[in-house]
Amino acid sequence: MNIVVCMKSVPSSETKVKVDSDGVSIEQTDVVYEINPYDEIAIEEAIRAKEAHGGKVTVLTLGPSTASQNIRKALAMGCDEAVHLICENVELADSSAVAELLSSSIKEMEFDVIFCGKKAIDCDNHQVPNRLAQLLDIPAVTAIFNLVLTTESGSAKREIEGGTELVTVNLPALFSAEKGLNEPRYASLPGIMAAKKKPFEERQVSLGDEKLTILSIELPPPTAEGRIVGEGPEAAGELVRILREEAKII
């Protein structure tokens, strides 16, 4: 089974965001880049699929040259090969341009299954997986928390408001990972050593036409100073009164 997993390097979830002087991006100093948490789940699922069905996992990243560190981590977890499309400034890039580049790279590979994360936690776009599947003309099931994969098909569960959808599609297909799908493994020491020798292709690319233009990036307005209603159970009645009479929300 040939498996491709799309992984993005994103600012760690702990990052305190500051707007850059250009007004359309965030300051890069002190920002630590990690594997997008949903992509970590996608990588885990890809490796499990390989362990169950044989074949190989190729990890694909579009991102700046510094992203190579995280690609090594994916190889250390158990991916077999890496393709790094090097391009600066893709953090908040338009998903259609990102999907174009990823799809043209995937079209050169053999693939049965593609795994993505449900969204990247920097741009929060939630678009690339479906766009990618359309460009590759394969079915997609997004934001899945359960998957039963055979060599022919995949049955995936996705959470919907107040329920679950079970979707079965034939391979080749794309799945995007939601939390709960699995617990990603840590890279082992032998894994880290082995990663150094795995095939690692790098290619310079540039983004095509973007369909969105970022006009500005701003921080949310500061929240008003909160109010401590009181201490201990005696304050409970007063809080309820405030919520009813002042805030008028209960």
Binding site: S13, E14, T15, K16, V17, V19, Y38, L92, S96, A99, I121, D122, D124, N125, Q127, N130, Q134, I138, P139, A140, T142, A143, F145, K157, E159, I160, E161, G163, T164, E165, V167, T168, V169, N170, K179, G180, E210, K211, L212, T213, L215, S216, I217, E218, L219, P220, T223, G226, R227, I228, G230, G232, P233, A236, G237, L239, I242, L243, A247, I249
Partner: protein, 322 residues
Amino acid sequence: MSQGVLIFAEQREGDLKPASLEAVTLGRELKNQIGGDLSVAVIGAKSSSLSSEFKQYGVDRVYVAESEELKYYDGERYSAILTEAVSKAQPSVLIAVASAMGKDIAPRIASSLDAGLATDCTGVEVSGGKIIATRPVYAGKAFVKVRIDTDLQILTIRPNVFPQKTEGDTDPEVVELQIGKKKYPVSEVQNIKSERPELTEASIVVSGGRGLGGPENFHVTEELADALGAAVGASRAVVDAGWRPHSEQVGQTGKTVSPNLYIACGISGAIQHLAGMSSSKVIVAINKDPEAPIFKIATYGIVGDLFEVVPKMVEAIKNLNS
């Protein structure tokens, strides 16, 4: 020439999603500025009966695809049908709700029609005839304003953010859509119902964290939720510990909620948790540590043991209601 606004109105088993009316209201405001008609597309097994729900919203036309075969959402099929609605209506703006369905269908349509899409928008304005959308990035730690540069401009909107308003009384024209054939050989969709209240749509959310001490204690927060008719949420710490299901996690790698009232019980307020709930209108924190970061963003706080405070709140609420 594209004109007007088309809304993808979401339904499941004949129930219209309330947030779809928020999208219709926004659509009406946009159409008043950019001109053209306001249309709605509904797809499903019982969709035609829903067209009357739009009478009070100034809708000009309702596109309907109705068939037993469309009982459950099927991304591939629904998007093919919605694409047909777009080619009929030729709108300059298409709006869906950023729900499980909307998040899935919007990028499919955007890709097949080669259009720009701004997801999960919390603000929308018109400038020079073009849509300028405000949307959260970095899990709400920042907001970008984006212009959509294609002829067809697609948006998904965050539920609970845009108000819903009726206006006038119209008799929308009903247009039937082709159902079409399935493209991929196997694709079976099944809904498995659950009784859980829906976190992302609830107007009140009560969340519990590690301060609850163990899975056996969550009845304390559930009783508060029941007294308020609220949905139940959780921090990642308790989800990772297996105390609560993943579907309840609020935060950067969980759900983003913006209810009228968010009550955090025994949650410290880590940056990743705040990312998922800081846009709530009123935030209440109950924590025994006066230094807990959650108090920095809480509108109202009680410093104390939640096992003492929360039952008293339940009592006070019940007294109010009786």
